[in-house]
Protein backbone atom coordinates (compact mmCIF):
# COMPACT_ATOMS: atom_id res chain seq x y z
CA UNK A 1 0.00 0.00 0.00
CA UNK A 2 1.22 3.48 -0.72
CA UNK A 3 1.26 6.04 2.01
CA UNK A 4 -0.21 9.35 0.99
CA UNK A 5 0.47 11.21 4.23
CA UNK A 6 3.41 10.68 6.54
CA UNK A 7 4.06 12.69 9.67
CA UNK A 8 7.18 12.00 11.72
CA UNK A 9 7.94 13.74 15.00
CA UNK A 10 5.93 16.76 13.92
CA UNK A 11 5.69 19.67 16.35
CA UNK A 12 3.72 22.86 16.09
CA UNK A 13 3.51 25.90 18.35
CA UNK A 14 1.22 28.89 18.47
CA UNK A 15 3.63 31.24 20.17
CA UNK A 16 4.46 29.46 23.41
CA UNK A 17 1.54 27.08 23.15
CA UNK A 18 2.66 23.64 22.06
CA UNK A 19 -0.33 22.56 19.94
CA UNK A 20 1.00 19.45 18.22
CA UNK A 21 3.42 17.19 20.03
CA UNK A 22 5.62 14.67 18.24
CA UNK A 23 2.89 13.59 15.86
CA UNK A 24 3.52 10.21 14.22
CA UNK A 25 0.84 9.44 11.68
CA UNK A 26 0.56 7.93 8.27
CA UNK A 27 -2.42 7.53 6.01
CA UNK A 28 -2.65 4.85 3.35
CA UNK A 29 -4.17 5.47 -0.02
CA UNK A 30 -7.91 4.72 0.09
CA UNK A 31 -8.03 4.90 3.85
CA UNK A 32 -10.59 6.92 5.81
CA UNK A 33 -9.07 8.31 8.99
CA UNK A 34 -11.33 10.06 11.45
CA UNK A 35 -9.75 12.34 14.03
CA UNK A 36 -11.66 13.00 17.22
CA UNK A 37 -10.88 14.99 20.32
CA UNK A 38 -12.10 17.85 22.47
CA UNK A 39 -12.13 21.36 21.04
CA UNK A 40 -8.71 22.95 21.29
CA UNK A 41 -7.01 19.55 21.23
CA UNK A 42 -5.22 20.35 17.96
CA UNK A 43 -7.17 18.10 15.64
CA UNK A 44 -8.05 20.87 13.15
CA UNK A 45 -4.52 22.19 13.27
CA UNK A 46 -3.27 18.71 12.46
CA UNK A 47 -5.17 18.41 9.18
CA UNK A 48 -4.50 22.05 8.30
CA UNK A 49 -0.80 21.20 8.35
CA UNK A 50 -1.35 18.64 5.61
CA UNK A 51 -2.08 21.29 2.96
CA UNK A 52 0.10 23.94 4.51
CA UNK A 53 -2.61 26.22 5.86
CA UNK A 54 -0.66 25.90 9.09
CA UNK A 55 3.10 25.75 9.28
CA UNK A 56 4.86 23.40 11.66
CA UNK A 57 8.04 24.04 13.56
CA UNK A 58 9.88 20.77 13.49
CA UNK A 59 9.63 17.20 12.30
CA UNK A 60 8.76 15.79 8.90
CA UNK A 61 5.66 15.89 6.80
CA UNK A 62 5.35 14.19 3.46
CA UNK A 63 2.21 14.39 1.38
CA UNK A 64 1.84 12.48 -1.87
CA UNK A 65 5.60 12.08 -2.18
CA UNK A 66 6.29 15.79 -1.61
CA UNK A 67 8.19 16.74 1.53
CA UNK A 68 7.08 19.93 3.26
CA UNK A 69 9.77 21.75 5.19
CA UNK A 70 9.15 23.25 8.63
CA UNK A 71 8.22 26.95 8.91
CA UNK A 72 6.61 27.11 5.49
CA UNK A 73 9.74 26.19 3.57
CA UNK A 74 9.58 24.46 0.20
CA UNK A 75 6.85 26.49 -1.50
CA UNK A 76 7.25 24.40 -4.63
CA UNK A 77 6.16 21.23 -2.83
CA UNK A 78 3.33 23.12 -1.17
CA UNK A 79 1.96 24.25 -4.54
CA UNK A 80 2.06 20.66 -5.81
CA UNK A 81 0.40 19.31 -2.69
CA UNK A 82 -2.46 21.78 -2.84
CA UNK A 83 -3.31 20.65 -6.35
CA UNK A 84 -3.68 17.08 -5.07
CA UNK A 85 -5.35 17.70 -1.74
CA UNK A 86 -8.91 19.01 -1.42
CA UNK A 87 -10.30 20.61 1.69
CA UNK A 88 -13.78 21.17 3.09
CA UNK A 89 -14.17 23.79 5.81
CA UNK A 90 -16.49 24.14 8.76
CA UNK A 91 -17.79 27.49 7.44
CA UNK A 92 -17.99 26.24 3.81
CA UNK A 93 -15.96 29.25 2.58
CA UNK A 94 -17.76 29.34 -0.75
CA UNK A 95 -17.03 32.37 -2.91
CA UNK A 96 -20.10 34.59 -2.44
CA UNK A 97 -19.51 36.67 -5.58
CA UNK A 98 -19.61 33.65 -7.88
CA UNK A 99 -22.47 31.36 -8.80
CA UNK A 100 -22.42 27.80 -7.53
CA UNK A 101 -21.19 26.56 -10.88
CA UNK A 102 -18.48 29.23 -11.15
CA UNK A 103 -17.33 28.33 -7.64
CA UNK A 104 -16.60 24.85 -8.92
CA UNK A 105 -15.13 25.92 -12.27
CA UNK A 106 -12.69 28.50 -10.88
CA UNK A 107 -9.83 26.29 -9.67
CA UNK A 108 -9.67 23.85 -12.60
CA UNK A 109 -9.62 26.77 -15.04
CA UNK A 110 -7.05 28.83 -13.12
CA UNK A 111 -4.78 26.07 -11.85
CA UNK A 112 -5.05 23.37 -14.50
CA UNK A 113 -5.97 25.61 -17.44
CA UNK A 114 -9.01 23.44 -18.07
CA UNK A 115 -11.16 24.83 -20.86
CA UNK A 116 -14.43 26.48 -19.95
CA UNK A 117 -16.43 23.81 -21.75
CA UNK A 118 -14.76 20.98 -19.88
CA UNK A 119 -14.88 22.79 -16.52
CA UNK A 120 -18.55 23.50 -17.06
CA UNK A 121 -19.33 19.87 -17.82
CA UNK A 122 -17.34 18.74 -14.77
CA UNK A 123 -19.18 21.21 -12.55
CA UNK A 124 -22.56 19.98 -13.77
CA UNK A 125 -21.61 16.37 -13.27
CA UNK A 126 -20.31 17.02 -9.75
CA UNK A 127 -23.38 19.03 -8.75
CA UNK A 128 -25.53 16.16 -9.96
CA UNK A 129 -23.41 13.79 -7.92
CA UNK A 130 -23.88 15.77 -4.69
CA UNK A 131 -27.58 16.06 -5.43
CA UNK A 132 -27.99 19.74 -6.27
CA UNK A 133 -27.85 19.82 -10.05
CA UNK A 134 -30.73 22.26 -10.22
CA UNK A 135 -28.99 24.98 -8.19
CA UNK A 136 -26.02 25.56 -10.51
CA UNK A 137 -26.78 29.17 -11.40
CA UNK A 138 -27.71 30.35 -7.92
CA UNK A 139 -25.40 32.23 -5.61
CA UNK A 140 -24.19 30.49 -2.42
CA UNK A 141 -26.26 32.77 -0.18
CA UNK A 142 -29.41 31.47 -1.85
CA UNK A 143 -28.71 27.90 -0.68
CA UNK A 144 -29.21 26.20 2.66
CA UNK A 145 -26.19 25.36 4.79
CA UNK A 146 -26.32 21.71 3.84
CA UNK A 147 -26.49 22.57 0.16
CA UNK A 148 -23.61 25.01 0.51
CA UNK A 149 -21.44 22.38 2.13
CA UNK A 150 -22.25 19.94 -0.66
CA UNK A 151 -21.20 22.60 -3.19
CA UNK A 152 -17.97 23.00 -1.22
CA UNK A 153 -17.34 19.27 -1.51
CA UNK A 154 -18.03 19.41 -5.25
CA UNK A 155 -15.68 22.39 -5.57
CA UNK A 156 -12.86 20.41 -3.94
CA UNK A 157 -13.60 17.32 -6.04
CA UNK A 158 -13.36 19.33 -9.26
CA UNK A 159 -9.58 19.34 -8.82
CA UNK A 160 -9.64 15.53 -8.78
CA UNK A 161 -7.78 15.35 -5.48
CA UNK A 162 -6.00 12.23 -4.25
CA UNK A 163 -6.79 13.14 -0.67
CA UNK A 164 -9.69 15.01 0.90
CA UNK A 165 -9.46 16.86 4.21
CA UNK A 166 -12.65 17.58 6.12
CA UNK A 167 -12.40 20.11 8.94
CA UNK A 168 -15.55 19.68 11.04
CA UNK A 169 -17.73 19.74 7.92
CA UNK A 170 -21.03 19.46 9.78
CA UNK A 171 -20.35 21.57 12.87
CA UNK A 172 -21.88 24.76 11.43
CA UNK A 173 -25.00 23.00 10.12
CA UNK A 174 -28.51 22.83 11.48
CA UNK A 175 -29.14 19.30 12.76
CA UNK A 176 -31.57 18.42 9.96
CA UNK A 177 -28.90 19.14 7.34
CA UNK A 178 -26.08 17.10 8.80
CA UNK A 179 -27.36 13.88 7.25
CA UNK A 180 -27.26 15.08 3.66
CA UNK A 181 -23.61 16.12 3.99
CA UNK A 182 -22.58 12.89 5.73
CA UNK A 183 -24.34 10.94 2.96
CA UNK A 184 -22.13 12.58 0.34
CA UNK A 185 -19.04 11.85 2.42
CA UNK A 186 -20.12 8.25 2.91
CA UNK A 187 -20.50 7.91 -0.88
CA UNK A 188 -17.02 9.32 -1.39
CA UNK A 189 -15.51 6.90 1.09
CA UNK A 190 -17.26 4.02 -0.62
CA UNK A 191 -15.75 5.06 -3.95
CA UNK A 192 -12.30 4.72 -2.44
CA UNK A 193 -11.40 8.35 -1.73
CA UNK A 194 -8.63 8.82 0.80
CA UNK A 195 -10.03 10.98 3.55
CA UNK A 196 -8.92 12.66 6.76
CA UNK A 197 -11.94 13.80 8.69
CA UNK A 198 -12.12 15.89 11.83
CA UNK A 199 -15.60 15.51 13.24
CA UNK A 200 -17.80 15.24 16.29
CA UNK A 201 -20.14 12.83 14.49
CA UNK A 202 -19.29 9.63 16.34
CA UNK A 203 -21.88 7.60 14.46
CA UNK A 204 -20.27 8.54 11.18
CA UNK A 205 -16.82 7.81 12.55
CA UNK A 206 -17.82 4.34 13.69
CA UNK A 207 -19.54 3.51 10.43
CA UNK A 208 -17.18 4.97 7.83
CA UNK A 209 -13.71 5.19 9.37
CA UNK A 210 -11.06 2.60 8.74
CA UNK A 211 -9.16 4.07 11.63
CA UNK A 212 -10.03 6.44 14.45
CA UNK A 213 -7.48 8.70 16.07
CA UNK A 214 -8.04 10.38 19.41
CA UNK A 215 -6.05 13.54 20.08
CA UNK A 216 -5.63 15.00 23.55
CA UNK A 217 -3.73 18.26 24.11
CA UNK A 218 -1.83 17.92 20.88
CA UNK A 219 -0.88 14.30 21.30
CA UNK A 220 -2.21 11.18 19.63
CA UNK A 221 -3.13 9.12 22.66
CA UNK A 222 -5.15 6.41 21.00
CA UNK A 223 -5.68 5.01 17.54
CA UNK A 224 -7.24 1.93 16.10
CA UNK A 225 -10.24 0.40 14.37
CA UNK A 226 -13.43 2.31 15.24
CA UNK A 227 -15.02 -0.59 17.11
CA UNK A 228 -11.92 -1.02 19.25
CA UNK A 229 -11.57 2.67 20.04
CA UNK A 230 -15.25 3.19 20.77
CA UNK A 231 -16.03 -0.04 22.60
CA UNK A 232 -12.77 -0.70 24.31
CA UNK A 233 -10.65 2.43 24.66
CA UNK A 234 -7.30 1.75 26.30
CA UNK A 235 -6.30 5.25 27.36
CA UNK A 236 -8.17 6.80 30.26
CA UNK A 237 -8.31 10.16 28.45
CA UNK A 238 -10.11 8.50 25.58
CA UNK A 239 -12.46 6.76 28.00
CA UNK A 240 -13.30 10.05 29.67
CA UNK A 241 -13.84 11.82 26.36
CA UNK A 242 -16.00 9.07 24.90
CA UNK A 243 -18.10 8.77 28.03
CA UNK A 244 -18.88 12.47 27.67
CA UNK A 245 -19.75 12.46 23.98
CA UNK A 246 -21.43 9.06 23.74
CA UNK A 247 -23.80 9.51 26.67
CA UNK A 248 -26.88 10.34 24.61
Amino acid sequence: MTQIVQMKGMNKYFGKLHVLKDIELSVEQGEVVVIIGASGSGKSTLIRCVNGLEEFESGRLEVDGQALAPKGGNQQALAEIRKEVGMVFQQFNLFPHLTVKKNIMLAPMKVKSTSQVVANATAERLLERVGIGSQADKYPSQLSGGQQQRVAIARALAMEPRLMLFDEPTSALDPEMIGEVLDVMRELAKEGMTMMVVTHEMGFAREVADRVIYIHEGQIVEEGKPDDVFDNPQNERTQAFLSRVLVR
Binding site: N51, G52, L53, A79, R82, K83, V85, G86, M87, F89, Q91, N93, L94, F95, P96, H97, L106, A107, K110, V111, Y139, S141, A152, R155, A156, M159, L165
Partner: protein, 223 residues
Protein backbone atom coordinates in the same frame (compact mmCIF):
# COMPACT_ATOMS: atom_id res chain seq x y z
CA UNK B 1 -28.41 100.00 9.53
CA UNK B 2 -31.54 98.45 8.10
CA UNK B 3 -30.78 95.79 5.51
CA UNK B 4 -32.37 96.58 2.18
CA UNK B 5 -31.17 93.32 0.64
CA UNK B 6 -33.31 91.57 -1.91
CA UNK B 7 -32.27 88.48 -3.86
CA UNK B 8 -31.79 89.54 -7.47
CA UNK B 9 -32.94 86.61 -9.57
CA UNK B 10 -31.98 88.35 -12.80
CA UNK B 11 -28.39 88.75 -11.59
CA UNK B 12 -28.27 85.09 -10.63
CA UNK B 13 -29.56 83.98 -14.02
CA UNK B 14 -27.21 86.34 -15.84
CA UNK B 15 -24.21 84.83 -14.09
CA UNK B 16 -24.94 81.28 -15.21
CA UNK B 17 -23.30 81.36 -18.68
CA UNK B 18 -20.10 82.72 -17.21
CA UNK B 19 -20.03 80.39 -14.21
CA UNK B 20 -20.79 77.32 -16.27
CA UNK B 21 -17.42 77.73 -18.01
CA UNK B 22 -15.86 76.70 -14.69
CA UNK B 23 -17.60 73.34 -14.61
CA UNK B 24 -15.36 71.56 -17.16
CA UNK B 25 -12.33 72.57 -15.07
CA UNK B 26 -13.95 71.44 -11.84
CA UNK B 27 -14.83 68.11 -13.43
CA UNK B 28 -11.47 67.73 -15.13
CA UNK B 29 -9.54 68.31 -11.92
CA UNK B 30 -11.90 66.14 -9.85
CA UNK B 31 -12.12 63.14 -12.09
CA UNK B 32 -8.61 63.39 -13.53
CA UNK B 33 -7.29 63.55 -9.99
CA UNK B 34 -9.58 60.83 -8.69
CA UNK B 35 -8.64 58.47 -11.51
CA UNK B 36 -4.95 58.79 -10.69
CA UNK B 37 -5.84 58.79 -6.98
CA UNK B 38 -7.62 55.47 -7.42
CA UNK B 39 -4.54 53.97 -9.05
CA UNK B 40 -2.36 55.35 -6.24
CA UNK B 41 -4.89 54.07 -3.70
CA UNK B 42 -4.76 50.53 -5.05
CA UNK B 43 -0.96 50.54 -5.18
CA UNK B 44 -0.31 52.11 -1.77
CA UNK B 45 -3.29 50.48 -0.09
CA UNK B 46 -2.00 47.03 -1.07
CA UNK B 47 1.59 47.94 -0.19
CA UNK B 48 0.46 49.11 3.24
CA UNK B 49 -0.83 45.63 4.10
CA UNK B 50 2.25 43.90 2.74
CA UNK B 51 4.28 42.03 5.33
CA UNK B 52 7.62 43.29 3.98
CA UNK B 53 8.62 46.40 5.91
CA UNK B 54 10.40 48.06 2.99
CA UNK B 55 7.12 48.05 1.06
CA UNK B 56 4.86 48.75 4.00
CA UNK B 57 6.69 51.68 5.57
CA UNK B 58 6.97 53.97 2.53
CA UNK B 59 3.32 53.34 1.74
CA UNK B 60 2.27 54.12 5.30
CA UNK B 61 4.42 57.28 5.26
CA UNK B 62 2.73 58.47 2.06
CA UNK B 63 -0.74 57.84 3.49
CA UNK B 64 -0.02 59.58 6.78
CA UNK B 65 1.62 62.62 5.16
CA UNK B 66 -1.17 63.31 2.68
CA UNK B 67 -3.96 62.58 5.14
CA UNK B 68 -2.30 64.58 7.86
CA UNK B 69 -1.72 67.85 5.98
CA UNK B 70 -4.39 70.18 4.53
CA UNK B 71 -5.02 69.87 0.82
CA UNK B 72 -4.74 73.66 0.54
CA UNK B 73 -1.16 73.47 1.78
CA UNK B 74 -0.49 70.58 -0.57
CA UNK B 75 -1.68 72.43 -3.66
CA UNK B 76 0.20 75.62 -2.67
CA UNK B 77 3.29 73.52 -2.16
CA UNK B 78 2.93 71.89 -5.56
CA UNK B 79 2.12 75.11 -7.41
CA UNK B 80 4.48 77.59 -5.72
CA UNK B 81 7.04 75.36 -4.05
CA UNK B 82 7.74 72.58 -6.49
CA UNK B 83 8.80 74.85 -9.42
CA UNK B 84 11.81 75.89 -7.34
CA UNK B 85 12.81 72.29 -7.15
CA UNK B 86 12.19 71.26 -10.76
CA UNK B 87 13.31 74.61 -12.16
CA UNK B 88 10.23 75.45 -14.19
CA UNK B 89 6.64 76.52 -13.68
CA UNK B 90 3.74 74.08 -13.25
CA UNK B 91 0.48 75.09 -14.82
CA UNK B 92 -2.42 75.47 -12.38
CA UNK B 93 -4.51 72.70 -13.94
CA UNK B 94 -1.70 70.15 -13.58
CA UNK B 95 -1.03 71.30 -10.02
CA UNK B 96 -4.73 70.90 -9.18
CA UNK B 97 -4.98 67.43 -10.67
CA UNK B 98 -1.78 66.40 -8.88
CA UNK B 99 -3.08 67.66 -5.54
CA UNK B 100 -6.40 65.82 -5.86
CA UNK B 101 -4.56 62.70 -7.03
CA UNK B 102 -2.09 62.63 -4.15
CA UNK B 103 -4.63 63.61 -1.52
CA UNK B 104 -7.45 61.29 -2.59
CA UNK B 105 -4.85 58.58 -3.20
CA UNK B 106 -3.98 58.60 0.49
CA UNK B 107 -7.61 58.29 1.57
CA UNK B 108 -8.38 55.69 -1.10
CA UNK B 109 -5.37 53.67 0.12
CA UNK B 110 -7.14 53.39 3.46
CA UNK B 111 -10.39 52.43 1.73
CA UNK B 112 -8.56 49.71 -0.21
CA UNK B 113 -6.80 48.46 2.91
CA UNK B 114 -10.04 48.34 4.88
CA UNK B 115 -11.91 46.64 2.03
CA UNK B 116 -9.30 43.94 1.57
CA UNK B 117 -8.88 43.31 5.29
CA UNK B 118 -12.64 42.99 5.77
CA UNK B 119 -12.76 39.83 3.66
CA UNK B 120 -12.89 36.69 5.80
CA UNK B 121 -9.65 34.74 6.07
CA UNK B 122 -11.56 31.61 5.07
CA UNK B 123 -11.87 33.00 1.56
CA UNK B 124 -8.15 33.03 0.91
CA UNK B 125 -7.76 29.69 2.68
CA UNK B 126 -10.34 28.20 0.34
CA UNK B 127 -8.54 29.64 -2.68
CA UNK B 128 -5.12 28.42 -1.55
CA UNK B 129 -6.46 24.99 -0.64
CA UNK B 130 -7.76 24.64 -4.21
CA UNK B 131 -4.25 25.16 -5.53
CA UNK B 132 -4.56 28.80 -6.57
CA UNK B 133 -1.43 30.91 -6.08
CA UNK B 134 -1.51 33.88 -3.71
CA UNK B 135 -1.80 36.25 -6.65
CA UNK B 136 -4.62 34.26 -8.25
CA UNK B 137 -6.41 34.00 -4.92
CA UNK B 138 -6.17 37.73 -4.43
CA UNK B 139 -7.33 38.87 -7.84
CA UNK B 140 -10.06 36.32 -8.48
CA UNK B 141 -11.44 35.85 -4.96
CA UNK B 142 -10.48 38.63 -2.53
CA UNK B 143 -10.41 41.70 -4.78
CA UNK B 144 -13.85 41.32 -6.40
CA UNK B 145 -15.47 41.01 -2.98
CA UNK B 146 -13.40 43.79 -1.44
CA UNK B 147 -14.12 46.12 -4.35
CA UNK B 148 -17.84 45.78 -3.83
CA UNK B 149 -17.46 46.86 -0.25
CA UNK B 150 -15.27 49.76 -1.36
CA UNK B 151 -17.89 51.37 -3.59
CA UNK B 152 -19.70 53.41 -0.91
CA UNK B 153 -16.53 54.86 0.68
CA UNK B 154 -15.06 55.51 -2.79
CA UNK B 155 -18.18 57.47 -3.69
CA UNK B 156 -17.81 59.40 -0.49
CA UNK B 157 -14.22 60.25 -1.34
CA UNK B 158 -15.21 61.36 -4.86
CA UNK B 159 -17.69 63.84 -3.40
CA UNK B 160 -15.12 65.16 -0.93
CA UNK B 161 -12.56 65.59 -3.72
CA UNK B 162 -15.01 67.42 -5.99
CA UNK B 163 -15.63 69.91 -3.22
CA UNK B 164 -11.90 70.18 -2.47
CA UNK B 165 -11.29 71.51 -5.99
CA UNK B 166 -13.02 74.72 -4.89
CA UNK B 167 -9.88 75.55 -2.90
CA UNK B 168 -7.86 75.66 -6.08
CA UNK B 169 -9.21 79.10 -6.94
CA UNK B 170 -6.17 80.26 -4.96
CA UNK B 171 -3.81 79.05 -7.67
CA UNK B 172 -5.92 80.58 -10.38
CA UNK B 173 -7.48 77.55 -12.06
CA UNK B 174 -10.64 78.72 -13.81
CA UNK B 175 -12.87 76.32 -11.88
CA UNK B 176 -16.30 77.16 -10.45
CA UNK B 177 -15.31 79.26 -7.46
CA UNK B 178 -12.66 81.14 -9.43
CA UNK B 179 -15.19 81.95 -12.14
CA UNK B 180 -17.54 83.20 -9.44
CA UNK B 181 -14.86 85.46 -7.93
CA UNK B 182 -14.00 86.92 -11.31
CA UNK B 183 -17.66 87.53 -12.08
CA UNK B 184 -18.33 89.16 -8.71
CA UNK B 185 -15.36 91.50 -9.17
CA UNK B 186 -17.24 93.30 -11.92
CA UNK B 187 -20.88 92.90 -10.83
CA UNK B 188 -20.69 93.00 -6.99
CA UNK B 189 -23.50 90.41 -6.76
CA UNK B 190 -21.73 88.10 -4.28
CA UNK B 191 -24.85 86.60 -2.70
CA UNK B 192 -26.49 85.61 -5.97
CA UNK B 193 -23.32 84.32 -7.59
CA UNK B 194 -22.16 82.18 -4.68
CA UNK B 195 -25.71 80.87 -4.44
CA UNK B 196 -25.52 79.73 -8.07
CA UNK B 197 -22.03 78.31 -7.49
CA UNK B 198 -23.33 76.28 -4.54
CA UNK B 199 -26.27 75.00 -6.59
CA UNK B 200 -23.87 73.89 -9.35
CA UNK B 201 -21.73 71.93 -6.87
CA UNK B 202 -24.85 70.36 -5.49
CA UNK B 203 -25.97 69.37 -8.98
CA UNK B 204 -22.66 67.62 -9.58
CA UNK B 205 -22.50 65.83 -6.24
CA UNK B 206 -26.16 64.79 -6.27
CA UNK B 207 -25.83 63.29 -9.75
CA UNK B 208 -22.82 61.36 -8.56
CA UNK B 209 -24.66 60.10 -5.47
CA UNK B 210 -27.50 58.93 -7.66
CA UNK B 211 -25.20 57.06 -10.03
CA UNK B 212 -23.37 55.47 -7.09
CA UNK B 213 -26.58 54.31 -5.54
CA UNK B 214 -27.55 52.58 -8.77
CA UNK B 215 -24.12 50.95 -9.05
CA UNK B 216 -24.29 49.81 -5.44
CA UNK B 217 -27.70 48.28 -5.84
CA UNK B 218 -26.56 46.37 -8.88
CA UNK B 219 -23.39 45.23 -7.14
CA UNK B 220 -25.18 44.00 -4.04
CA UNK B 221 -27.91 42.19 -5.93
CA UNK B 222 -25.52 39.43 -6.90
CA UNK B 223 -24.01 38.79 -3.48
Amino acid sequence: MESQFQFDWQAAINSIPFLIKGIPYTLMISFGGLLIGFALGIIFGLLSINKKWFLKWPATAYIEIFRGTPILVQVLFIFYGLPDLIGGPIDPLTAGIAAIALNSGAYISEVVRGGVQSIDKGQSEAGLSLGLSRTQTFWSIIWPQAFRRMIPPLGNQAIVSIKDTSLFSVIGVGELVRQGQVYIASTFTAFEVYFVVAVMYLAITLSLSLILRLVERRGLASV
